[in-house]
């Protein structure tokens, strides 16, 4: 990590934190349910059924089939808690590489289930995408975080390292 400037290190950690926030909050709202908006609208318990039924692209049929699976509630639970745990991992820098791998896996699934092949604005979507959408971009960002080993820059993983962080000043002072 010495080869990276402080600004570069900071940028990578900020990127990791932002991605972590995104995952954690997505997961948080899903495990919270049922819930209510502050404006007084009820929000039902999270289920991926609607998302899966709207699947598009070459793998659409596969994902649509999941929407009616009897074990969908379990899948919902796994998705929601995975988001939470991955988000926490990225934000705290704890099991960072594992969290990155998990994030990549989820984002790959999200991308493949709604693969943007039409190139036009989809109902309920935020814009028009052709092959590249926000899921893919976020996955690329996670790949960067993974490749640059941000676990060695900042976060609780430093406490888990072979040479604990608090010893560093002593070692450096003795040099």
């Amino acid at each position: 990590m010495d080869s990276l400037s402080r600004t570069q290190q900071l940028s990578l950690v900020v990127l990791r934190t932002l991605i972590g926030w995104h995952f954690l909050y997505e997961g948080f709202t899903k495990v919270l349910g049922p819930s209510w908006s502050r404006a007084g609208a009820p929000i039902g318990r999270f289920t991926a059924a609607g998302y899966l039924r709207g699947a598009s692209g070459p793998f659409a049929e596969l994902f649509r089939g999941l929407a009616d699976a009897s074990w969908l509630p379990w899948l919902d639970l796994v998705v929601a808690w995975s988001l939470v745990l991955i988000g926490l991992g990225l934000m705290l820098g704890l099991f960072t590489q594992l969290a990155c791998a998990g994030a990549l896996a989820l984002l790959a699934l999200f991308y493949l289930s709604w693969l943007p092949t039409s190139g036009v604005h989809q109902p309920g979507g935020e814009g028009a995408y052709l092959l590249v959408n926000k899921n893919l971009i976020e996955a690329a960002a996670v790949a960067v975080v993974l490749a640059f080993r941000t676990d060695r820059i900042a976060g609780l993983d430093l406490l888990r390292a072979a040479e604990p962080a608090p010893r560093a000043p002593v070692a450096e002072a003795a040099r």
């Binding site: 934190t17 972590g20 209510w36 007084g40 705290l92 976060g155 430093l158 000043p169």
Partner: protein, 434 residues
């Protein structure tokens, strides 16, 4: 512990590196507290009183907002009908009770829909709030002013949501009329409102006893007639003023932004001299600050006018008819002299449903004497107002969003209507002192 300044600096930096994620987590918690969703499912509700009005509320309860857990009524026939209402609207069956105190004890409720006879409102509402439950009470707030005050106090003391079912506050026609016409000043100076609820039918009901040995005295009624026709006897009821006028007066006070200061009344049992104590013809005038006057009339001998509220201003007249239509007429000489009625563009719905069949507002209509029933034109959906009312109450329970007809607003109308009834009863002008 002896650390060199370099060691201290390095140690501090290391600590900060390890803690890098923590501020973001704190920010997340803060953001969640400010804007995030609030945990909780549908509000667990019990319904006390499953007569016509109770069933209207049940049928307009959205399952996303509320779960009907228990039903309570002293009349098993009404409970059976309520079961049908729940089934019709895809609610799961609810447990039955004949004693509301037992229901409160045995069920883990969060709120109650209260649709009992008027004279019981205060006792039940206060007990529910003391037990930690929120209350959506049917109109009127209570039989007497002191009870209204005790209810408001109980709501305040126990920090419970208490709302009175004046559903016009949840009716889009009224909201639009207030925002777009009254508040915008299109009526000019407003001195007079006429509130009309005219019907041509007998308010007395004839309903079979649940069983030949049914004993109404068990519930404190001297006879079964008193139980089903409680609206016709003074110890239980405030007649037209409670069942009909309180809705319209609540809106008049909303539009005026003021409470009544005095009441004058006349009326009596003129047509149906069958032993009832409550007048079948009611004429009450309510005075408001600034020389404004509301005149309410309710008769049971002619339904030509049906029911409406008319607001007469120096620049225009606003008529809100049957809770579904709104008309605006400009006064001659007003800015754009278009004397044609302007109906709201809200689509009318063909729904009859429980509102038409059961609500006191349609009791005479149910007797087959409705006037204006074939009226066409723009309008709203009365059922939707009830639905919004129950949903709005549940939202207030869960998230604290403001009520549209909480204790203060309901109290103003109740005070005016109770005083109006007393003025009619005593044939006197009575000042209202708050």
């Amino acid at each position: 512990m002896n650390l060199t300044p370099e060691q201290q600096e390095l140690g501090r930096r290391n600590f900060l590196r390890v803690m890098a994620g923590t501020p973001a987590l704190a920010a997340l918690a803060a953001a969640s507290a400010i804007e995030g969703p609030l945990r909780g499912g549908p509000v667990r509700i019990g319904c006390i009183g499953t007569g016509g009005q109770g069933r209207v509320l049940l049928e307009q309860t959205d399952r996303q907002f509320a779960e009907i857990v228990a039903l309570c009524d002293i009349n098993p026939l009404q409970l059976a009908k309520a079961d049908e209402s729940l089934a019709k609207t895809n609610h799961p069956p609810a447990k039955h009770y004949s004693d509301w105190k037992e229901m409160l004890q045995k069920e883990k409720l969060e709120a109650v829909l209260l649709a009992s006879p008027l004279f019981l409102h205060a006792e039940i509402a206060i007990a529910c709030m003391e037990a930690g439950l929120h209350v959506l009470s049917e109109k009127m707030m209570a039989w007497d002013v002191a009870s209204c005050e005790r209810i408001a106090e109980a709501a305040h003391k126990n920090r419970r949501v208490y709302e009175v079912g004046h559903q016009r506050f949840y009716n889009g026609v009224y909201q639009a009329a207030y925002e777009g016409i009254v508040k915008a000043g299109l009526l000019g100076e407003l001195y007079h409102a006429r509130l009309v609820w005219h019907r041509n039918g007998n308010w007395r009901r004839h309903i079979d006893m649940p069983s030949p040995d049914y004993d109404a005295s068990r519930w404190g009624y001297p006879s079964y007639d008193h139980l089903i026709n409680w609206r016709l006897y003074k110890k239980y009821s405030r007649g037209h003023m409670a069942e009909l006028a309180s809705h319209q007066v609540a809106v008049a006070e909303w539009f005026f932004g003021a409470n009544a200061t005095a009441a004058i009344g006349s009326g009596g049992v003129y047509r149906f001299k069958d032993g009832r104590e409550i007048p079948d013809h009611t004429y009450v005038t309510l005075e408001y600050p600034g020389g404004r006057t509301v005149v309410f009339t309710s008769i049971e001998s002619n339904a030509f006018d049906n029911y409406y509220e008319a607001y007469y201003g120096t620049k225009g007249t606003l008529i809100l008819s049957g809770e579904i239509d709104a008309f605006l007429f400009e006064e001659k000489g007003a800015s754009t002299a278009a004397a044609q009625p302007k109906a709201t563009g809200i689509e009318i719905t063909a729904k009859g449903g429980p509102v038409g069949a059961a609500s006191e507002s349609r009791a005479a209509d149910a007797a087959g004497s409705a006037a204006g029933g074939g009226r066409s034109g723009g309008g709203g959906d009365r059922n939707l107002a009830y639905k919004n009312e129950v949903s709005g109450f549940c939202a207030a329970v869960r998230t604290g969003v403001p009520l549209k007809c909480g204790p203060e607003r309901a109290m103003g109308s109740a005070r005016a209507c109770i005083t109006g009834f007393e003025a009619m009863d005593t044939q006197k002008r009575i000042e209202i002192k708050v």
